[in-house]
């Protein structure tokens, strides 16, 4: 059966590399690449199979049974899965290939391959899952891979703390996910999609008093609660505000990882989750609104921060945050197909951009600061041109994939009513910013005079074929994905899809025009500011000092968390330990012991060694007994 092999091959390569990597060393790619490429081909088969209308869902083995709880590991293959399979395997194989060159000669070469193989496996299992628990299991598994890969260079303190941060922030999201999961099981008695979705309507009316235990009264629809709780998981995984803080730090990991995990696949799992659970979300407008607004806010925040970052990867990272905001917003507005569509195109061009950054960084010997780049377009032609294509797609330049997907997304959003329209306006503004910062990136990095460290300036050259090839392929894809008709392919998945009503009416045309205009305007602005007169940025920075600082410091979110959560927790822990555990509880225990010993010292004083005291003691004892009998 082809389905099993798709995840199985990466798993096998992971096991081989994990157990014998010690001996395989730098032959690792010979194991990893073929495996994932084959699973890419298999998923292509599956894709066309599904397009032929064949959908299936079947268990593999029973994972756990307890009382009425019955959970099995299984696959469910439908259009959504097929698309995701394709995306994951494609990007993964390209990244595999790219890694050959990028990680060449690294000590952890084999280890790295084993990790990404494990990641690919987990991601595939995630998207193929046919029940929420399996989804959750691999949801955490991909988180683990991300943790391991961010911390790949464990000698770097920054990398380690980034890894830890990523995991813990995700755990916060998963906390909600877990509760949502339990609530689903509680109210549906099952975790399988095909059990839940049909019965979603039945429990549409159910309400639950969430303040009950605290004496208050606040009846919330159970479905809404479920959706919101599950969405917290998505917030964590897809780096939505307020849990977006881990993603930029995650850039400490090797660049291929940023491309694979933190741009194309894992971070989009949140979007996938919402889309996958569309039948539930559709029944809960409130939850939808929450999702949409979260997405909108994230979209804007990400963009504003991206404007001023100087670390080349961080710029791309924040643009990822912002783009994820788009997708989530779309899903929140019910435009699942549009969201997924953008997810796909974004996967292509964002992976491209990251890999481009990667080759720049390699070329400059791990230099990541934009301000020490510039004038690279002649030295790195391939990288440059592919990078430009990626940026155009990101900026939504006409006829690139990004153009179609973003346009489709905004149009569908607009057509969903007032909330959608407000968010659409925000989206249009964000388009402007997006175009601006993406081309700021291009111009500062590749154009203008070179600020490259003179040591390396001499021998900056295009990286090896294994790295440029994926760039070119991805560049092609970031154009091509616009013409594959993904929305039409996904359409049937989401019956209440607003995407259907997208491409007619004046609004659609208007939005398209405005969006394109915004994009072009942004590009032009970037050109004006960073090419024509490079002095301007500093002037702006000086004029709007506070704004500039705020954006540069990512709206001080990290600092806020550090002050309000992290430090208080640790100090509280220490205090609690010193005060309560050592002093109070253990103090009480030792106190009892001391008290008894003290009693011993006291009582032994009676034993004075004076015989007549002893006699007196006896006499007194007798007296006491007499008295006792006298009065009882």
């Amino acid at each position: 059966m082809t389905y099993e092999f798709i995840p199985l091959l990466p798993l096998v390569s992971f096991l081989i590399l994990g157990l014998f990597g010690h001996w395989i060393k730098d032959k690792a790619h010979l194991v990893a690449v073929p495996a994932v490429v084959v699973s890419l081909l298999l998923s292509l088969l599956v894709f066309f199979d599904v397009e032929g209308g064949h959908q299936t869902s079947f268990p593999i083995y029973t994972w756990l049974t307890s009382g009425t709880l019955d959970i099995h590991i299984g696959f469910s293959i439908d259009r959504l899965t097929a698309v995701m399979l394709l995306l994951v395997t494609t990007v993964s194989s390209l990244v595999h290939i790219y890694t050959i060159g990028y990680m060449h000669g690294e000590p952890g070469y084999a280890r790295f391959f084993s990790y990404i193989a494990l990641f690919t496996f987990s991601m595939l299992m995630l998207v193929m899952a046919d029940n929420l628990l399996q989804l959750f299991i691999f949801w955490e598994a991909v988180g683990l891979c991300s943790y391991l890969l961010i911390g790949h260079w464990y000698e770097r303190p920054a990398a380690c703390s980034a890894a830890t941060k990523a995991f813990i922030v995700n755990r916060v999201g998963d906390f909600g996910f877990m509760l949502g999961l339990l609530l689903v099981w509680y109210s549906f008695g099952s975790l399988d999609y095909y059990e839940i979705f049909p019965r979603a309507h039945e429990s549409a009316g159910d309400v639950m008093n969430v303040l009950g235990p605290f004496g208050g009264t606040w009846d919330v629809s159970v479905l809404t609660l479920i959706c919101v709780l599950l969405f917290t998981g998505a917030v964590g995984k897809s780096a939505q505000v307020p849990l977006h803080v881990w993603l930029p730090d995650a850039m400490e990991g090797p660049t291929p990882i940023s491309a694979l995990i933190h741009a194309a696949t894992m971070v989009t799992a949140g979007v996938f989750l919402v889309a996958r659970l569309a039948p539930l979300y559709n029944l809960s407008p409130a939850a939808m609104a929450v999702v949409a607004i979260t997405g909108g806010v994230t979209m804007v925040v990400g963009a504003t921060i991206a404007l001023t970052q100087t670390d080349i990867k961080r710029v791309v990272a924040y643009s990822t945050v912002s783009q994820l905001g788009y997708m989530i917003m779309a899903c929140g507005l019910g435009a699942y197909a549009a969201g997924m569509y953008h997810l796909l195109t974004h996967g292509a061009f964002k992976a491209l951009l990251f890999l481009g950054c990667g080759s720049v960084i390699i070329a400059l010997h791990h230099e990541q600061d934009m301000r020490r780049m510039g004038g690279l377009k002649n030295k790195l032609p391939v990288t440059y041109w592919t990078f430009v294509v990626g940026s155009l797609a990101l900026a939504g330049f006409p006829l690139t994939s990004g153009f179609f997907s973003k346009d489709n997304l905004l149009v569908s959003a607009w057509s969903t009513g007032p909330l959608g329209q407000c968010l659409t306006v925000l989206g249009l503004v964000t388009v402007l910013m997006t175009a601006f910062y993406s081309f700021r990136l291009v111009f500062v990095t590749f154009w203008g005079p070179s600020h490259v460290d003179p040591h390396h300036a001499g021998h900056v050259h295009e990286p090896s074929k294994t790295m440029t090839l994926p760039l070119i392929i991805l560049a092609v894809l970031s154009i091509l994905t616009g013409y594959l008709g993904i929305p039409e392919f996904l359409g049937p998945m989401f019956e209440t899809d607003a995407g259907g009503a997208a491409h007619e009416g004046g609004a659609a045309i208007g939005i398209m025009v405005v969006a394109t205009g915004m994009g072009l305007l942004g590009i032009a602005g970037a050109y004006y500011v960073y090419v024509l007169n490079p002095a301007l940025p500093d002037q702006f920075a000086r004029r709007w000092q506070s704004l500039y600082q705020a954006s540069l410091n990512k709206w001080y979110v990290d600092e806020a968390y550090d002050r309000t959560i992290v430090r208080p927790t640790f100090s509280a822990a220490t205090e609690l330990w010193k005060r309560v555990d050592v002093n109070v509880i253990d103090g009480a225990v030792n106190g009892v012991a001391r008290a008894i010993a003290w009693g011993g010292w006291l009582l032994r004083i009676m034993q004075s060694g004076q015989t007549q005291h002893y006699a007196l003691g006896m006499a007194l004892g007798a007296v006491v007994l007499f008295t006792m009998f006298l009065f009882f």
């Binding site: 010993a597 015989t611 005291h613 003691g617 006896m618 004892g621 007798a622």
Partner: protein, 495 residues
């Protein structure tokens, strides 16, 4: 004319003991110092003979035979205690051999006195007339006074003897006064008649109450029950270790035997009163014994307090017998006391045997600190001590647990659960000081700088004693059935 043949036959063991005692004392002057061991072996042989006889009687006459015009009886109850007493006395003699030699007070009379004390105890346990019980007590006590002061070269030994003597005679005076009142009550000193008189006169007679309390005080002294215990630590510490062991084991057992007979057979009608009285006493006893033992540094003194505490535990069983309700009556309680004391005897003897072995330089190493690192130098001895300590704590797989189990079962059955709880809480306290000995032996390393690091004097006899003690502790811990059933059927003759 009455023919005493049968009576003499019944009292053959007593006769043997006494004759041997006189023989030993007579032979002592004519035996050279180097051959004095023979006297010890002679005594042990006599005891073995008695053991055989009394053991034989079990099967022969399983009824209550009264001899010498109902002044003494030979019943299962008495036989239980006698057998126990033979055993512990024999072991004490064997453990005295090397000890006295090391202490340079290896006197032949010593064995004579042990035997005389034993004969006194035998009279106590088989006496059913306050007169015989009193005389037995005195015979025992006088011998013990002398034995305590035996090691005159040590001022402590002498002081202990003086204190023991003064307080002992004081308490026996009190006891005697109580007895005189009981006589005035019943016109006789026979327990049966006293019981009858109490039955007719009822409990709220001033004579009865005063007499009961005075007798209780007198016996409380012998049992080392708080607040009549205060002689115990000093005497136990001062007396030669072998004598201490004899005091702590044999004297206590015999006193308990007589005590229970007097209060059950004689004053049984006053159950309600004395069970309350002894409830109070047992509580105070086990609390004080355990708590004060914690702060001791001298192991003999510590064991003295622990023996006080154990008396408290045994008394719980007795109180339970007094409070007992339902079909089983007081039997389980009384039996539990017998079981507890027999087990207690073995573990205490063993502990004292180990202490007696330990010598620091010329003198006896009796500070707890002297045991430091014993496990390194003498693993076997340390292990034995560990077993005895665990048993004294009452940990399972050792006999101590069985003893506590039965006592507390009796208590719970009598509805004294709260008493059992308190007793167990203080058993935890006791665990502290017992385990401290283990700690010192096993967990502290002997510091090489110490001038005279304690060594062990051992001998075949002593090894035999230890073997018996540890065998008793382990076997009664694993297979208590024989002991339990023996106690249960012996106690039935007590009425």
């Amino acid at each position: 004319m009455i023919l005493y043949g049968a009576d003499l036959l019944a009292l053959l063991p007593e006769l043997i003991v006494v004759v041997t005692a006189c023989l030993v004392i007579a032979l002592d002057p004519v035996t050279p110092a180097s051959r004095r061991d023979l006297l010890a072996w002679l005594s042990v042989g006599a005891l073995a003979l008695c053991l055989g006889l009394t053991g034989g009687q079990i099967s022969v006459l399983n009824v209550r035979v009264s001899a010498f015009s109902d002044l003494v009886v030979i019943d299962a109850y008495a036989r239980f205690w006698k057998i126990l007493l033979y055993g512990v006395t024999g072991l004490t003699i064997l453990m005295s051999l090397p000890y006295l030699k090391a202490e340079r007070v290896h006197l032949g009379e010593y064995y004579g006195f042990i035997l005389l004390a034993l004969s006194g105890m035998m009279v106590m346990v088989s006496g059913v007339d306050l007169l015989t019980i009193y005389l037995g007590t005195e015979l025992m006590s006088l011998s013990l006074y002398v034995m305590t002061g035996l090691n005159r070269s040590k001022p402590r030994s002498l002081e202990a003897a003086a204190k023991y003597f003064v307080l002992g005679s004081f308490s026996s005076g009190i006891l005697l006064y109580g007895i005189s009142l009981l006589y005035g009550l019943a016109g006789s000193t026979k327990l049966a008649l006293i019981a009858g008189a109490i039955g007719t006169r009822g409990a709220d007679d001033p004579l009865v109450l005063i007499a009961t309390i005075l007798v209780a005080v007198g016996f409380g002294f012998k049992l080392a029950a708080v607040p009549f215990h205060m002689w115990t630590p000093d005497v136990y510490q001062g007396a030669p270790t072998s004598v201490t062991a004899f005091l702590a084991v044999a004297a206590k057992a015999a006193s308990f035997a007589a005590f229970m007979r007097v209060f059950v057979e004689g004053l049984g009608g006053l159950k309600a009163d004395w069970s309350l009285l002894f409830l109070l006493i047992s509580l105070v006893t086990l609390v004080l014994g355990n708590v004060v033992a914690i702060v001791q540094t001298n192991i003999k003194r510590m064991l003295a307090y622990s023996s006080i505490a154990h008396a408290g535990y045994a008394l719980i069983g007795f109180v339970a017998a007094g409070r007992a309700v339902g079909a089983s009556g007081g039997t389980p309680g009384l039996a539990s006391v017998m079981i507890y004391l027999s087990i207690y005897s073995f573990m205490t003897l063993g502990a004292f045997a180990v202490i007696g072995m330990l010598r620091k330089g010329g003198i006896e190493g009796e500070e707890i600190e002297d045991f430091t690192g014993l496990a390194k130098r003498q693993p076997l001895a340390a292990f034995l001590m560990l077993v005895f300590m665990a048993s004294l704590t009452g940990l399972p797989l050792s006999a101590g647990f069985i003893g506590k189990l039965y006592v507390f079962m009796a208590a719970v059955e009598a509805g004294l659960t709260w008493l059992a709880v308190i007793a167990l809480i203080f058993a935890v306290v006791s665990a502290y000081y017992y385990m401290r000995v283990v700690m010192v032996m096993y967990m502290r390393d002997p510091n090489p700088s110490s001038v005279a690091s304690p060594r062990l004097v051992t001998s075949p006899a002593l090894s035999f004693v230890l073997a018996c003690a540890v065998a008793g502790v382990i076997l009664f811990g694993l297979f208590p059935n024989p002991l339990v059933s023996f106690a249960l059927q012996s106690v039935l003759t007590l009425k």
